[in-house]
């Protein structure tokens, strides 16, 4: 964990008609940190991700990624700067085989610039990435149609899609949700591996137990407002955080 601030979010606000989804959210993210974003359903977490990755424009506020204000940029531009995201409702490219899904990010300007045209056969690069992510046990899996993969693999595919971009920050939108216990126990080492390799993560999660194993800072949201921020253990002791969760979503 270093002191280089990668992401500086200031006063983001967004309303949809009468609903205030995000109210004045600010935080800083340093390189190497794993920031967990938690809060009951409807707290505005996914809206936050959508704003930071360019899919929604906020009403007010700015977000500086390495000094550049990314508010107003299109999602592909933001991705090319190094900020990748997964989707909560997964979006594999259904009709294509799994490894072909990675062709898309491998053709992005970011990768093309980084590789300088020396990437070689993209197919094998894609398969290599998939093996890293854990598709290696079943050698035929990378060739299966993406739409036919089981849930755990699809989640990994989402992550693979991010990794293929060689990002600096990955925004994970509920990567642990919907998985069985065994699937989760194989996902955690993966996340830990990213962290060890120096990746900066923002993780939106409901599964607090798993999240706290990897996060070193946590931001709690409720009704669009940041109600707390700090190391996980401290934050969970606070009364307002506990109140936000009581009666709401129970950690599974």
């Amino acid at each position: 964990m270093s002191d280089v601030t990668l992401l500086d979010v200031r006063n983001l606000s967004k309303s949809f008609g009468g609903v205030r989804a995000i109210v004045d959210i600010s935080f800083k993210l340093n390189q190497g940190e794993v920031l967990g974003v938690i809060g009951p359903n409807g707290a505005g977490k996914t809206t936050l991700v959508n704003i930071l990755t360019g899919f929604i424009k906020p009403d007010h506020g700015q977000a500086f990624y390495k000094g550049r204000n990314i508010i107003g940029m299109t999602p592909d531009k933001i991705a090319n700067l190094g900020l990748a995201r997964t989707f909560q409702v997964m979006r594999p490219l259904h009709s294509l085989p799994t490894y072909k899904n990675l062709i898309v990010p491998l053709n992005s300007p970011r990768i093309k610039k980084a590789a300088g045209g020396k990437l070689g056969n993209l197919d094998s690069v894609a398969i290599d990435i998939l093996e890293e992510i854990g598709f290696e046990r079943d050698a035929r899996v990378p060739y299966k149609t993406a739409g036919s993969l089981p849930l755990g693999y699809q989640k990994r595919l989402e992550l693979a899609r991010c990794i293929a971009l060689r990002p600096e920050i990955i925004l994970c939108d509920e990567v642990f949700s919907g998985l069985s216990m065994s699937e989760i126990s194989s996902m955690i080492p993966l996340v830990e591996k990213f962290v060890m390799e120096g990746m900066t993560l923002i993780m939106i999660e409901h599964r607090l137990r798993e999240l706290f194993r990897v996060a070193n800072k946590v931001l709690v949201m409720n009704f669009g407002v940041k109600i707390s921020e700090g190391p996980p253990q401290e934050v969970m002791k606070q009364d307002n955080v506990k109140a936000a969760y009581i009666g709401g979503e129970r950690s599974k």
Binding site: G54, F55, T74, P75
Partner: protein
């Protein structure tokens, strides 16, 4: 110059009349009723036939043909659109095909003795003959009826969608279909209603506007194009936008005719559309980002 203003206003309301039915259906069921223009023309011809071939009372003919229009709209929804919900490519193509079948069918000639509706003879009588003078410009009564009807219709529709159960459910679906479904609103039934109303509106526009000229099948395409242009420019999800756009386009076209000649009308139209698309793709007053990509 005054004539430009007066006729511009009339033109605008004419557009609004034709566009409202289309905008209603698309807003509710997300399916564009390509056959809108076709139904418009069809109603004109049916009314004509009822009046001239069957010698029915004019008013009665109108009511009958409006009813027929609704039925056709319903039929289209029930037999074609329902099967294709959720497959946008197919929906577009299918409603397109229906529209063409109707419009081109009306132009058929000499097939099995069917004479086809071509020629300048197809004229609907205006409701009242005569003109009146407004600030130095002569305006037929019929045109005034157009304006009156337009305004009345807008008011009625507003009341309908804000105060009746059916109207409110149509608005609900237009805003968020899934939420509406969860609240027990039957979207298929609403879709059918919307189609029926939309078709009737198209027919109504037809009987009011067609007496100003003669009925041609070509008009079907023009109506569709104008309705679309107005919806695109005005932005969806906003009926105020549709009306605003009607005025914008109505005046722009009359103005250009005044300055440059009638042939430029459609050029102005396409120019406006493209301009709006470039600057504000969701339309002038588009509240929802309907027209833009989801991003």
């Amino acid at each position: 110059m005054e004539s430009v203003i007066v006729y511009g206003a009339i033109n605008s309301i004419t557009f609004a009349l034709t566009a409202i039915g289309f905008s209603l259906v698309y807003g509710v069921s997300r399916v564009p009723n390509f056959a809108h223009g076709a139904i418009y023309v069809l109603v004109g011809f049916i009314t004509w036939s009822l009046v001239n071939d069957l010698n029915l009372n004019y008013g009665l003919s109108i009511i009958i043909s409006l009813a027929i229009a609704s039925l056709i709209g319903l039929g289209i929804y029930q037999f074609v659109l329902i099967r294709l919900r959720g497959m946008p490519t197919s929906e577009i193509i299918a409603s397109f095909a229906v529209s063409l079948i109707i419009l081109e069918g009306l132009r058929l000639q000499g097939v099995g003795g069917f004479k086809g509706f071509i020629g300048p003879n197809y004229v609907l009588k205006p409701f009242f003959d005569g003109k009146i003078e407004i600030s130095g410009v002569f305006v037929d009564y019929q045109r005034l009826i157009v304006v009156g009807a337009g305004v009345a219709l807008a008011a009625i529709l507003w009341l309908f969608t804000h105060y009746t159960k059916m109207g409110l459910s149509l608005r609900a679906i237009a805003q968020d279909e899934q939420a509406a479904l969860m609240l027990g609103i039957n979207s298929d039934r609403a879709g059918m209603t919307a189609m029926a109303i939309g078709s009737a509106l198209a027919g109504l526009a037809a009987v009011i506007i067609l007496p100003l000229g003669n009925i041609t099948a070509e008009a079907g395409y023009h109506v569709l194009i104008y309705a679309l242009a107005v919806c695109i420019i005005g932005g969806l999800g906003s009926w105020a936008g549709t009306i605003l756009a009607s005025f914008l386009v109505g005046f722009a076209m009359k103005f250009s005719t005044f300055m440059f000649g009638a042939v430029w009308e459609s050029v102005v139209l396409i120019g406006t559309i493209i301009l709006v698309l470039l600057i504000r793709p969701s339309g002038l007053l588009g509240k929802q980002k309907e027209l833009e990509e989801r991003v």
